[in-house]
Amino acid sequence: MFHRFANPARFLRFAAVIQPWIAGLTVLLFAVGLYLGLLASPADYQQGETVRMMYVHVPSAWMALFCYTGMAISCGVALIWKHPLADLAAKATAPVGASFTFLALVTGSLWGKPMWGAWWVWDARLTSMLVLFFLYLGYMALNNAFDDPGRGSKASSILALVGFVNVPIIKFSVDWWNTLHQPASVVKMGGPAIHASILSPLLVMGVAFTTYYLWVLLIRIRREVTANKVRALQMRQASRGEQ
């Protein structure tokens, strides 16, 4: 199972079969999620209508962490087993994960303005998201910093793993720092109790974000495979030209 998709050609064939299904599922889930989130669910008794921002904020934050985990696992697989697709998957995941992190930050800030009265509060979760965003930026910058793409992906794989080990430590220290500096009365993002009426749109949106990620991931991996082919052909033609 593991090495079945190691061959990029086989992966491309597999992607061609599965992609329309994922695309359809994503559109459907977003339609249902938006309907449930914006129309069918009541306003929260505590947060009022602002609770609707949760349906995009929380899935974004989930996906930000999910993508980083996926990226780190792919990087580990790429480094240890030299699995060619794992490498491409990690590279393709980074911009998607960074986008989700960015969305979690922006929607969190928009949620914070009516709740806290400020666009930015050094809330533990938002702060952790900000650091995660920097980790994504570092990964992408390092990936692009070398003339040889192979070097870039190897160096950034090591960075992703180092970052992954550090994420819990950073999370722990930010939580610690936050409790030291903030009165406990501040409303924690996400609220204490998740109501059943909030839960179903949240879950549907969460699954929609996941299938969206898979959809874009397939496209981006296909792009990387194609770009590698182009590079190989160009090298071959260049070496032929020298002879």
């Binding site: 920097f134 910093a145 070097r151 190897k154 160096a155 090591i158 722990f172 220290s173 610690w176």
Partner: protein, 221 residues
Amino acid sequence: MNGFLAIVRRDLRLAFRQGLDSLMVVAFFVIAVVLFPFGVGPQPNTLARIAPGVIWVAALLASMLSLERLFQTDYEDGSLELLALQPVALEITVMAKVTVHWLTTGLPLIVAAPLLGVLMNLPEDGYMPLMIALTLGTPTLSLIGAIGAALILGSRRGGILLSLLVLPLYIPVLIFGVSAVDVVIGGFSAKPQLLILSGLLVGALPLCPWAGAAAVRQGLE
């Protein structure tokens, strides 16, 4: 062990021959801190309130400033490849480099810190925890930084890239380092913070040279 000491001795000799590098780091450290009274005003209370944070952030930046050269010069003149070919494990070599980095930047920073405490009107109780926290924290900074320094070998934009890679990973050390000073000034014990800083150091000691060596290896390929 002999290989380790040989590299430490060699790099220390090189550092002393160039001489000024350590002093430059300390000068940067002092100037960065001195900028703050101009920025926030010279009221003693304000300065005392922000002193631990400012000193720590400046120490972080100063320690990072000299990281770029950690492997770069050896990489460029090819001696890093010779070091990698030696019977000494590359992890030991990286550890030796980290040790030299700490001796030439971390240690001078610790020595200079009390002076900055005076300039920033740091309350008297704060000096002891500041020194202890810096002693426990700066080696961790050098260790984490070594990974970053190894990763950027041969890249197009070294220095700025390095700061993007390394600074987010420095945050835990900063948080507990500052907190250790703050709680003592507030009249509490800094034991938990110092224990956590020690824990970070103990965790970084085996992991960072290992990851750093892996990064150097892929850089030399």
